[in-house]
Point group: C2
Chain length 404, copies 2
């Protein structure tokens, strides 16, 4: 109780719920706050490159929507999403190799909301949930609100290794995987591993939540098909417009069997009624005008160029050492760096931020549900100009030398 | 287990979480599905009138945003909301009588999301939560996902009656109230009751979640100030652009002490990162150009005219009976109808849908957390043309006659 003289009108300390209790700033937030000074070269972010945003196309589509669908665009709409958008997305996914019906699509407010919704739909406190090791940090944050017991799946240099999945999977309701250009490693699993993952899901009777934000951001070759091609009956795929159109719209979408779409729809009614009608109609218009086909090659080109630049710089500058290695992604936004076991990437980060040409990245420990590897780091390259990529990698190389 | 020959590739029955288990269609959804035929006059919806949408202003603002802030509008943005919008909203609330700083504002994806966020922030399964009787159906749906124990607060013909609040409030973390033009009753509580509610909140040490979607939709006189004027230290006010600008944007906002804003911000990071940047910037632009002051008198005029039309029709056509009465709202979108105790409004609704001039409304039982009164109904008038309001009320009157 407060003991001041305010007649009891001081702000009382709220009794938060168990999941609502603020965790306070994490180590990562503390460090990245230090790194937010403009002179710091940041390999930390997961933002897409704003160079890739189709401003004129969005403006034209937005004007068209107000002129032709204005009252509808500003009104409430169906919880599952507007039918034009569900149809356009189903058509797009079908064209990309996995037959999809509009009624198997549900629109959500970015895939981050999708992660939270699936966790709430499947997980009671203590439910077993399978995740890759490492896995996407933001997904762990969303899932933690549902208080699952995480089980880390076996992963190797080719990504998730379903052949090594065994009894630890029994009793799990759900596995969260990112088979294509994974965040944080950039790794993709091949067709054989996808098939085997489908078999394991059937054997141990769990659902697959496939997060696929980067599938369209391949540099040269199209990646293997979505898990919906291998285990359509038990895969929920989450996709997003954030990397191919605009994150500022907060538009994601599920593709799943109808029993899941129906349950998600009931949940979405309770948690936010529906995603914004206006941005859905704009996005539908962009898709109908085939913006993706015109726009994606340009986005892929930017990302590929930046990835190559960073890979070259790593090859050129990083110390030659048998325990220093990094992934060579064929799409997406991330390179995963592994350091000698005695090097703590958080300490390396602190030193890099204090360097003459300061640089930041995300220490890898944050991407593990249970057993962090502290000698890892995630490097993102897409928003950094090429000369700064080179300068930043030089700083990492010089600083790392002192840790060896 | 399935026993078919599909090699185990049938869609398996998912094991949903306790809160995720679909409840199936509610009685209300079943009935309202019947009522969705175009010939049915619907007093059921809570939609604002699309006549009131400022299409031209939105189009101009949207073009301005792409021309002047395009790359930013399509990019990720701050979890609490874009600063222009938080500043414009703080300014607007301050002008309306409750001093508010931008850092006390947090933007969310419609107030439905706000209800879910507060429930998750405060409630563990079984936590005591105070609600009005009746209260907003959509809020109950959101809160139920956090599995609280609801306690109904004493209400009378003047709305919530804090004088009668007592020991049942002890141990509650939160009270959910709509003091102004309440959904479903249309009632507002006066300044005395607001002061007393503040005192009770201090006495029993609970937080107040004030839902205020209709405060600006007064017909003649401005209503009493928000609870933030009476208990600023423990009130969380939830407001929305849905009724004053456009529900299709899904834009709501919290105003609360910083300790709550910080906790909400941490939660929002995990559940959807942030609300769409683009619609936030468009809304900020509309507010900066003083759209509210130009636009709101027009919206209030439409709503007042429809309310008067329905009140006149009820007075003219409903059977004279001491137990038939209805509220006379001074703002908002709803009239609450009370019927003789032996009349079940759900049965009345079925008969009204089957009438020659069919009409639908929402039976009142759905608005009670614990102790439904079946002889009540919510009537909404804003999207119905005046001649149809009269025709619909005639149907209710004639049908009701048969139940007396």
């Amino acid at each position: 109780m407060t003991t001041c003289d305010c007649k009891n009108t001081c702000t009382p300390t709220p009794v938060f719920s168990q999941i609502g209790k603020p965790k306070g700033n994490s180590i990562i937030q503390d460090i990245l706050a230090l790194a937010s000074r403009p002179e710091v070269i940041s390999f930390g972010g997961g933002l897409p490159s704003p160079e890739g945003f189709p401003l004129e196309a969005v403006k034209e589509a937005a004007d068209w929507v107000i002129d032709n669908q204005g009252r509808r665009a500003l009104q409430y709409s169906a919880v599952e999403g507007v039918m034009e958008l569900r149809t356009a997305l189903a058509h797009w996914e079908t064209e990309n190799g996995v037959p999809t019906k509009p009624e198997e699509v549900l629109v959500c407010s970015g895939s981050q909301q999708g992660l939270d919704m699936i966790a709430r739909l499947f997980l009671d406190p203590g439910s077993k949930m399978l995740v890759e090791s490492p896995t996407y940090l933001g997904a762990l944050q969303a899932f933690q609100l549902s208080q699952p017991e995480f089980v880390e799946l076996p992963c190797d240099e080719q990504g998730l290794n379903p052949a090594a999945m065994g009894e630890e999977c029994r009793g799990a309701r759900l596995a969260y995987v990112m088979p294509t250009f994974q965040n944080p490693t950039g790794r993709s699993i091949d067709v054989e591993r996808r098939k085997l993952l489908a078999e394991k899901a059937r054997e141990y009777d769990f659902w697959i939540l496939e997060d696929n934000p980067y599938g369209q951001i391949y540099y040269d070759e199209k990646p293997a098909l979505s898990m919906r091609a291998f285990a359509p009956e038990r895969t929920i795929t989450l996709n997003t417009m954030s990397k191919v159109l605009a994150p500022g719209f907060r538009l994601g979408y599920f593709m799943a069997p109808k029993i899941i779409i129906d349950a998600l729809s009931e949940m979405k009614t309770a948690i936010d009624l529906h995603t914004a009608t206006y941005t859905q109609l704009i996005t539908a218009r962009c898709l109908e005008l085939d913006l993706m086909k015109k726009h994606l090659p340009y986005v892929r080109g930017i990302y590929k160029q930046h990835a190559e630049c960073m890979l070259n710089a790593l090859e050129t500058y990083l110390p030659k050492h048998p325990q220093i290695k990094w992934t060579h992604p064929k799409g997406g936004m991330f390179i995963w760096l592994e350091l000698p076991e005695n090097v703590d990437a958080t300490e390396l980060l602190k030193a890099c931020i204090a360097a003459e040409v300061p640089v930041a990245f995300v220490p890898g420990f944050a991407f593990y549900a249970n057993h962090p590897k502290h000698n890892t780091a995630r490097l993102s390259f897409v928003t950094v100009p090429e000369e700064k990529i080179v300068a930043g990698v030089k700083t990492i190389a010089e600083t790392l030398q002192k840790f060896l």
